[in-house]
């Protein structure tokens, strides 16, 4: 990619700094959540202890319930379900992070779609596990809703873009509640790479006057 030399990026580049007040209120809660969760995870006992307690005698043979993939030891073989749910959870969480933190409205919508994908994977995993179609049905409707959402959302994004000339969600922070602090942008350092130098051809005839800066800064041929 050629570096940015768009005037917008020089004058109004920004470094996000949420206000100190907001951060002071949120930090303890977040830190507490993370610590509590890690503690929870560490406190979880290992799997081996549980499976030992399974009463094998009470379980019918595997052939009776082919949909449930019963293993001989009587534990439901839910590996596919487990892994599918794990993938779904990861996708959902990644989508959540994206929609919380990115400022480009299109990328935010991509993140929302990512969350929908996570949900779809989870639903289909359960559908496979239970051997019925309910989950897959729901995914079809998720697809429908996603299509509707994308259509309407894109229209709004386009409208917003045509008003501000940017895809920045923070361009609309005046819509926030008045008690919430504003995000103040600071200047960003320029990207590495410097200015691209374009080859200059030998002139034929009388050379017209050029705008040298425009020649150096153009990004298209």
């Amino acid at each position: 990619m050629t570096p940015v030399t768009h005037p917008m990026s020089v004058t109004s580049t920004s470094l996000v700094s949420a206000s100190a007040g907001l951060r002071r209120r949120i930090w303890p809660a977040v830190a507490g959540c993370l610590t509590a969760m890690v503690a929870l995870l560490l406190a979880v006992p290992s799997h081996a202890a549980d499976t030992a307690a399974v009463p094998t005698a009470a379980v019918p043979t595997a052939t009776a319930v082919p949909s449930m993939d019963l293993a001989p030891d009587g534990v439901l073989q839910n590996g596919l379900l487990h892994n599918g749910l794990l993938v779904g959870a990861l996708l959902f969480a990644l989508g959540l992070v994206g929609i919380l933190t990115r400022r480009n409205m299109i990328v935010m919508f991509l993140s929302a779609e990512l969350m929908l994908q996570g949900v779809s994977v989870s639903l289909v995993s359960w559908s496979r596990y239970h051997g019925d179609w309910g989950g897959q049905m729901l995914v079809i409707f998720v697809l429908t809703v996603a299509a509707c959402e994308a259509a309407v959302a894109l229209v709004f994004v386009l409208q917003a873009f045509s008003r501000t000339g940017r895809l920045d969600a923070n361009a609309w922070q005046s819509l926030r509640e008045s008690v919430l602090p504003r995000t103040i942008d600071q200047a960003l350092p320029p990207l590495d790479g410097g200015v691209t130098h374009w080859p200059t051809l030998t002139p034929a005839g009388v050379e017209p006057a050029h705008d040298e800066e425009a020649l150096l800064e153009r990004e298209h041929v």
Binding site: M1, T2, T196, E219, H220, V221
Partner: protein, 444 residues
């Protein structure tokens, strides 16, 4: 680890298919050049034969020479491109257009070979039993849009970018009539598997082109547009517009783009034959069951290939018969003509399929069959005439002067000054104005 026989069979099929397709694409380019020459009263390429000899073989060595030439050309990458996507775009489009053939059968079945571990009979299909074959074709043809769009964007060139947007808009728009034309067949055949669609036509003996004429036309037009063939080759449009999304490409990457476009045409021909022209079926020649001997298998393969070749020749003949559509006409055709016609076809097919049992019960099998055949034809004629009468911009190429007047404010003002009002003037009014009679032409 020794792979199973089925895996080996699948690999052999893939090898045959990819090798055959690439060779066929090369030779179809030669055929296309011949057709172009003959239609223009020329002789066409007929020189290149066996190298270092005087043997010419009617120019059959030409594809080799063409390929060598374009491969050996300098693979020039402009400095302003986005390198990753610039290199990825041709690969994406070629991979997508080759992977489509996983779900497309290229014949009927081989007679049983009697080898343990192999299914009997062996179908001419890389992924047999893939229950969503048609959707697969659809999905991969929509992936091809990415190659076009990214190639145009990554070129970082305004002409390439505009070309990319232009052609992806076309591809996305024509996916809808394509799907509608296809849905009629899916509804009638009751399956998303392409070989089942062929078997259905062979069993009834009625090709879907005859049972659903409207669907056939809609699918045919959409297939032309999806394959970016003339009269819809706006993606390239060498004569009127700058090359398009592959303006900045050269050498082997350009070759990949061109081969992919050619494969799109081949895919379209396969789909047309499979969905609407009966696949390997020909009345009285090929039979209909799966229990066949070597002779019938060969005949079926021949019939199938012959049909595909005929459709491809039709594609090439059409190229030299009609002028290119303008972009607004292209979009008009997709949204205002083909979409309603496709929906009409879908509705009539649904009605026929829904009430066929009742009709059979009421008036007997043969009469019901005739009704089921004639009803779509009636809808076809009706829909066609309606479309022709109601959508003049689809067929009428004349410039609309009132629009010009509205668009250009200065022009309109001047014109109003000259003629006394803003209306389009006829010859008489103009001559009156020239006579300096300021009161003439004032009828509103």
């Amino acid at each position: 680890m020794i792979p199973s026989l089925e895996t080996i069979a699948a690999l052999v099929k893939i090898g045959l298919l990819v090798g055959g397709l690439m060779t066929a694409a090369a030779y179809l380019v030669l055929v296309e050049r011949w057709m172009a020459a003959w239609v223009q009263d020329r002789k066409g390429p007929n020189r290149v034969g066996i190298p270092l000899t005087k043997i010419r073989l009617f120019g059959l060595g030409q594809p080799l020479a063409d390929g060598l030439k374009i491969i050996l050309k300098e693979d020039y990458t402009p400095s302003h491109v986005d390198r990753v996507l610039y290199n990825a775009a041709p690969l994406v489009i070629l991979a997508a257009s080759l992977a489509i053939f996983a779900a497309i059968p290229f014949g009927s079945v081989l007679p049983p070979l009697g080898i343990d571990g192999l299914p009997d009979p062996i179908p001419f299909l890389v992924a047999p039993g893939f229950s969503v074959g048609i959707l697969w074709v659809f999905a991969l043809s929509s992936i091809a849009v990415y190659g076009v769009l990214l190639g145009g964007w990554a070129s970082n060139n305004k002409y390439g970018f505009l070309g990319g947007l232009r052609s992806s808009a076309q591809l996305v728009a024509y996916e809808i009539p394509l799907g509608l034309g296809l849905l009629g067949v899916v509804l009638a055949a009751g399956s998303l598997e392409l070989d089942v669609v062929m078997t259905q036509q062979a069993n009834t003996g009625i090709w879907y082109a005859f049972a659903q004429p409207l669907g056939f036309i809609v699918f045919l037009v959409a297939a032309f547009a999806e394959a970016a063939r003339l009269p819809f080759d706006l993606p390239e449009a060498e004569q009127e517009l700058v090359g398009g999304y592959h303006t900045e490409y050269s050498g082997i990457k350009l070759l990949l783009f061109l081969v992919a476009e050619f494969l799109h045409m081949v895919t379209a021909a396969f789909l047309i034959v499979i969905l609407f022209l009966g696949g390997w079926h020909l009345w009285g020649v090929t039979g209909s069951g799966d229990e066949i001997g070597w002779g019938t298998a060969l005949i079926r393969f021949g019939v199938f290939s012959g049909k595909v070749l005929a459709v491809i020749l039709f594609f090439m003949l059409v190229r030299w018969s009609w002028p290119r559509f303008r972009f607004d006409q292209l979009m008009n055709l997709a949204w205002k003509v083909m979409l309603p016609l496709g929906i009409a076809n879908l509705v009539i097919v649904a009605i026929v399929e829904e009430f066929r049992p009742q009709m059979t019960e009421a008036m007997g099998a043969s009469a019901a069959g005739w009704v089921a055949l004639l009803l779509p034809w009636a809808v076809f004629l009706l829909g066609w005439i309606t479309a022709g009468v109601l959508t003049p911009s689809g067929t009428d190429n004349r410039p609309i002067r009132a629009d010009i007047l509205e668009d250009d404010g200065l022009f309109a003002a001047e014109h109003a000054l000259l003629t006394g009002n803003g209306q389009v003037t006829t010859e008489n009014e103009l001559s009156n104005t020239a006579n300096a009679d300021s009161s003439s032409g004032s009828d509103a």
